[in-house]
């Protein structure tokens, strides 16, 4: 008898405060597993956001700092410049990264800061109770868009990966999801690759995870994962948007 899957040592034993079926738990685990696999969990510093993941520092068994809302890339830039040998990660939601923190993420990417950003895109503000986020889909209901998001009134959703891929600074940008076990495996590969590219010092790395928010979407966790596959992924297509290591290999 052999144990083939158990909780990674790069996570603490603290019980996660997230709602049942919240994708944050899956992505926390993937990040921790990737760091443990490369032995970087003793050498990592994570900048955690404001939002549902604000307490992520309690769950990661490596250094973490809580940042001002949206400013994790700025904080992480400073950490990386002072400690260039450390693996520096920012972990941010869509309200944090794509709304109040848009300036910070765009300029950190444009400067080519050698950090890795994990971006959780679930199309809604989770912690504050389901308000419309910059990533809310057209027609999707939120407490501040009762009849569903109307692009004529509320504007259009941001596709952050595509936007950042137009810049020169980023070395690696991929969008993944976690709605099936196969997608979880792919998401882990993407995070692993981003961390490897950061270790080589090639530039800014960015992994967007299309995720679910069962509570604020008003769906069960299983139905929310179906919504991710049927509605979110067609709008936010998965794939690699930039990879300078692949371009070099040509």
């Amino acid at each position: 008898m052999a144990v083939i899957f158990e909780k990674t040592k790069a996570l603490t034993d603290v019980k996660l405060h997230y709602c049942p079926g919240c994708a944050h738990g899956i992505v926390h685990r993937l990040l921790a597993e990737c760091l443990e696999k490369s032995g970087e969990d003793k050498n990592a510093i994570c900048a955690v956001p404001v939002g549902c993941a604000v307490f992520a520092n309690k769950y990661f068994n490596f250094d973490a700092i809580q940042c001002a809302h949206g400013r994790a890339p700025a904080t992480a830039s400073g950490i990386k410049r002072v400690h260039p040998d450390k693996t520096v990660i920012t972990y941010q939601g869509d309200g944090d990264l794509a709304s109040i923190g848009t300036a910070e993420i765009v300029h950190a990417a444009a400067r080519g800061e050698k950090i890795t950003t994990i971006f959780i895109n679930n199309g809604i503000y989770g912690m504050t109770g389901g308000q419309m986020a910059p990533t809310t889909l057209p027609g999707m209901k939120a407490t501040t868009a009762k009849a569903g998001r109307d692009p004529k009134v509320n504007g259009n959703p941001l596709r952050v990966s595509e936007m950042l891929a137009t810049l020169t600074g980023p070395a690696y940008i991929e969008r993944v999801s976690i709605s099936t076990p196969a997608q979880v495996t792919q998401a882990k590969k993407a995070i692993q690759k981003a961390l490897e590219i950061q270790k080589k010092g090639l530039g800014f790395t960015f992994v967007e995870v299309v995720a679910s928010c069962p509570t604020n979407w008003g769906l069960t966790p299983v139905k929310a994962m179906e919504f991710v596959r049927e509605k979110m992924i067609p709008y936010y297509p998965l794939g690699v948007f930039k990879d300078i290591t692949a371009e070099e290999g040509k």
Binding site: I4, F5, Y18, G25, P181
Partner: protein, 71 residues
């Protein structure tokens, strides 16, 4: 004969049923008799057909699942 064994930490399980939904052999189900300290019905093994694919553990948001491969 079971090829695998799934152990669920019933205290931290939140009964989200993502593991139940992805199991290819329908080995898991939410308990109808147990309730944990947080008030959730935890998942449990209901048959011996586990093939140790670890799909359930990959989807578990709370790291509540340990998978063992039986020889």
């Amino acid at each position: 004969m079971a090829k695998g064994k799934v152990t669920i930490n019933e205290v931290i399980c939140k009964g989200c049923a993502l593991c139940v939904s992805v199991c290819p052999k329908n080995v898991l189900a939410l308990s109808t008799t147990k309730i944990n300290p947080a008030g959730y019905n935890p998942a449990e093994m209901v048959s011996d057909d586990c093939i140790a694919c670890t799909s359930c553990a990959k989807m578990c948001p709370d790291c509540a699942i340990t998978v063992e491969k039986l020889d």
